[in-house]
Symmetry: C2
Subunit: 304 residues, 2 copies
């Protein structure tokens, strides 16, 4: 099978329009009249992005939330979504539809259209397109981080990881950790408040470390992350503690859907966020534990 | 498996925003600032929309063309597309990427983004989202046909049907009929020229008769189609003749991607089109052969 990176490189050769941002950003940004529109399309596959026994309502939620998280990273106001759906078993599809309604009402986003295809009993893949309107121009990008910036993070990391482990181990009780995995909350309000202030912004879907490295690469800077500063929730600490290894895992697991951004150190942030590192001249990611330099782990995050 | 109509009814209950046009139109139409944006998402599935031995470049072309045809029916100017791709065999995916480039260059439409998922050797489904800007407001809809209107059609019908039959029978020579099936040309220019003049417009993707019935239903009128007026190409007539049965087949087969529209009889059309019927007070579709009323066939077109 073609690897994702090979295929994306093939697509990158076609995506020469500046709106496509070389397929290196979370979203495309197109100008229409006086408006800047933000577009993203994310897919989820059974057995990859959801377990076969997952609640279909959770699958629907996550499909919506993961796309809206991309819009959040641009400071966009969502305008609507289009669904690409592969038909399956009747009860599953009805539960998915009900869950989709729950998510769309929760996020106050209209369903605009979409399409369905039959499936042949195979594992399924679902797609969602989300469109939003920029609330601030220039629209934040992964590029733009400047040496001297502070690196910030909304929320806490690792909860989705712990939730996934609990669910896989058969603990299906809905606690805050399982909920963090099943029902992520994209940071739409935060993204809009931050857009005028940040130099670079992205959402963390694949892990803090891998996404910080991507941000460093897009911005042609070095980013230093201090694991001692990585924010953990009380639930996560109860589950796994807050030692270095626990923080390293929280920082290299996806599905957190927090915003990672850089801003000048003198900026007063309008939202709660944790400073987890800084931006320097250089390239790539460097890692610290309470200001002591440490080695990068073998895997920085979720590689597709 | 859930039927498509059952699932679409579930979705229709959610799609209460006026922009969604109750999922009864070819596209969603959203207003952003002074602009009207047109959005559509169409999928294609292996074994349903393409034969497993199809040229991947033809699959790519048709995926783009079928979505752009929806934009054409709104008189929209395409702004770009996003691809939802299921990874497969390497040579197939490379040929698809090359074909996608050919199609995007031909239609002068940028690739803006998208996503990929792994596949497990199953039959594949691909999705494409197309976004366009309306060139005329109000944006044409399926509703709006008025009693007294004439019903018109661009191009000819049946070529794609004949091409499909030739390809299935093993004639893989690329003639005009196979080309009509493999490389449809969405009527983008015609749609833009017609948008200010029409009362109702849609693209014919599932067959003239079924789509005319949909247009009649959306407009709450009766549409009479005269099969003697259905335009056939010389190639199609050479292949199958122009007797009533041949015209009936051409009018009840999909994949033609022509525009079907209604306009006041006094309008001078700016493009070549054939008058194939008229609009009356009433409901549903009525069928004629040289003004003699005839029965509707058991199938009006391609039912998903």
């Amino acid at each position: 099978m073609t690897s994702e990176s090979t295929f994306i490189n093939l697509m990158r050769a076609l995506a020469t329009d500046p709106s496509a941002r070389s397929l290196l950003d979370d979203c495309a940004v197109i100008s229409v009249g006086a408006e800047n529109l933000i577009l993203t399309h994310d897919m989820m596959a059974e057995g990859v992005h959801w377990l076969s026994n997952a609640d279909p309502a959770d699958v629907a939620w996550k499909l919506v939330a993961s796309n809206l998280s991309d819009l959040a990273s641009k400071g966009a106001r969502p305008l609507g979504v289009l669904l690409g759906f592969m038909l399956g078993e009747d009860a599953w599809d009805r539960a998915f539809a009900a869950g989709l309604q729950t998510a769309l009402v929760h996020f106050d986003v209209p369903l605009l259209g979409g399409d369905t295809v039959a499936n042949r009993g195979d594992k399924r893949a679902l797609g969602l397109t989300a469109i939003g309107a920029a609330t601030y121009t220039p629209v934040p990008a992964r590029s733009g981080a400047r040496p001297g910036d502070m690196v910030y993070l909304t929320g806490t990391l690792g909860d989705a990881l712990a939730g996934f482990e609990l669910i896989e181990a058969g603990f299906d009780e809905v606690g805050p950790l399982a909920n963090a995995y099943n029902r992520p909350e994209p940071r739409l309000t935060e993204g809009q408040l931050l857009a005028p202030l940040v130099h670079a912004m992205m959402d963390i879907s694949d892990g803090l470390l891998i996404d910080a490295e991507r941000l460093a690469s897009a911005s042609k800077v070095e980013i230093g992350i201090d694991l001692a500063r990585v924010p953990l929730s009380p639930s996560y600490i109860s589950y796994r503690g807050d030692a270095l290894e626990s923080r390293m895992q929280a920082a290299s697991w996806g599905d957190d859907y927090q915003l990672l951004f850089t801003a000048a150190p003198e900026i007063d942030l309008p939202i709660a966020a944790t400073q987890v590192g800084d931006v320097r001249e250089g390239t790539g990611l460097s890692l610290y534990d309470a200001e002591r330099r440490i080695a990068l782990p073998p895997s920085l995050g979720y590689q597709h």
